[in-house]
Point group: C2
Chain length 191, copies 2
DNA sequence: CAATTTGTACAGTTTTTTCTGTACATACGG
DNA sequence: CCGTATGTACAGAAAAAACTGTACAAATTG
């Protein structure tokens, strides 16, 4: 936790407690997104840091090994949730959170979804081709057709879904999503 | 895997292979969504089943214990990816996949996101109140203000993001999302 | 209502993942 | 160009999660 200068102990306690609540909440819930609780906790720590942080400081604050900080922060950088920062005159690597959560959100799910999409779509298409070939080979084999048709229908519907997901991801990446769901709405429309 | 009647061995091999490819791809990639590979595999198995399936059949097909099937299928039902089905004259529970992947997608992320949203928003708001109170208590304490302001700004921005996410989830649940990103697009616009 | 079948709770085992400490390659400052 | 500081690969230890078998409670059928 960042050291705080020139405050009374009471003030500091309040601030640390307020920060801690948010950090732990974030840390716990990032776990729903497939991020370890410790890494989520690290993310929360960096969130309240007002200056880029070194691996050593992180290890100190988290009471964990520098190795863990290294791997943890690398995960966060890969997910574009944290950025590496250079500072002249220091040979240490520095890191800070990406504060634009809209961007973080878009990057995170674009990355994950696109990855799954590509692999699954490719498997679906390959299998579809094979089944269609088999289908065309024996167009009069009723038993075969009866088995193939449901499979082909399911595969087609799955492909349809992935084509849609692909366009949804596009809208995340382009920012078009914010025209349907604006970042802000006028106060009068708020619930 | 579902038994197939009245087909030549060659035909059966092709079909099983095509199915297996898709099942394994789905199983592996659901793991990106925080679902165990075995449970993902179970989901894939159910996907190609043309009739609801019992726990015993699943265990047999997956070569796993019935206990695992029970917990696995419960996870999938909780996520609304699989539905429980009743059939007269059988005392076994039967399960089948939700074939509407658009619905599955919407349910899955609505559930997860809403859960994290509620907890985090509540923590953010509680901490915001505490910090604002502290802020108002000593409006002339420059050192204090300097520390509080960045924290409050970050919290406000995070709240803004969650308010947006809340509306995004609403659009998933209401189906409004499909007006920005239609399920289908005309062939002429396809890439 | 009894007999039997079915699903799951639970404890223990196995497998997987996370975390640490050391050792080392790299890079920067002097 | 040397010396030191820094990040990470790797192997092993610790922790967590997945899986199984048994035992039992709930439910359905005759």
């Amino acid at each position: 936790m960042e050291t705080i200068q020139g405050l009374s102990p009471e003030q500091e306690v309040v601030i640390q407690k307020a920060r801690k609540r948010v950090i732990e909440s974030i840390g716990k819930n990032l776990d729903l997104y497939g991020i370890t609780q410790s890494i989520g906790h690290l993310y929360g720590l960096l969130f309240f840091q007002n200056h880029p942080m070194t691996l050593d400081k992180m290890g100190e604050a988290m009471e964990m090994s520098k190795t863990s900080m290294s791997t943890g922060v690398r995960t966060l950088v890969d997910l574009k949730m944290v950025n590496k920062v250079w500072e002249k005159g220091s040979r240490k690597d520095l890191y800070e959170v990406e504060l634009d959560w809209f961007q973080t959100f878009a990057d995170f799910f674009s990355l994950k979804w696109r990855k799954a999409l590509e692999i699954n779509l490719s498997a679906l298409r390959k299998s579809k081709t094979e089944l269609r070939n088999l289908c065309e080979q024996s167009p009069d084999d009723a038993a075969l057709q009866a088995v193939l048709q449901p499979d082909l229908d399911k595969i087609d519907e799955a492909i349809r879904y992935y084509m849609w997901l692909d366009r949804l991801i596009d809208s995340f990446e382009s920012g078009d999503i914010y025209s349907l769901v604006p970042k802000d709405i006028p106060p009068s429309e708020r619930p």
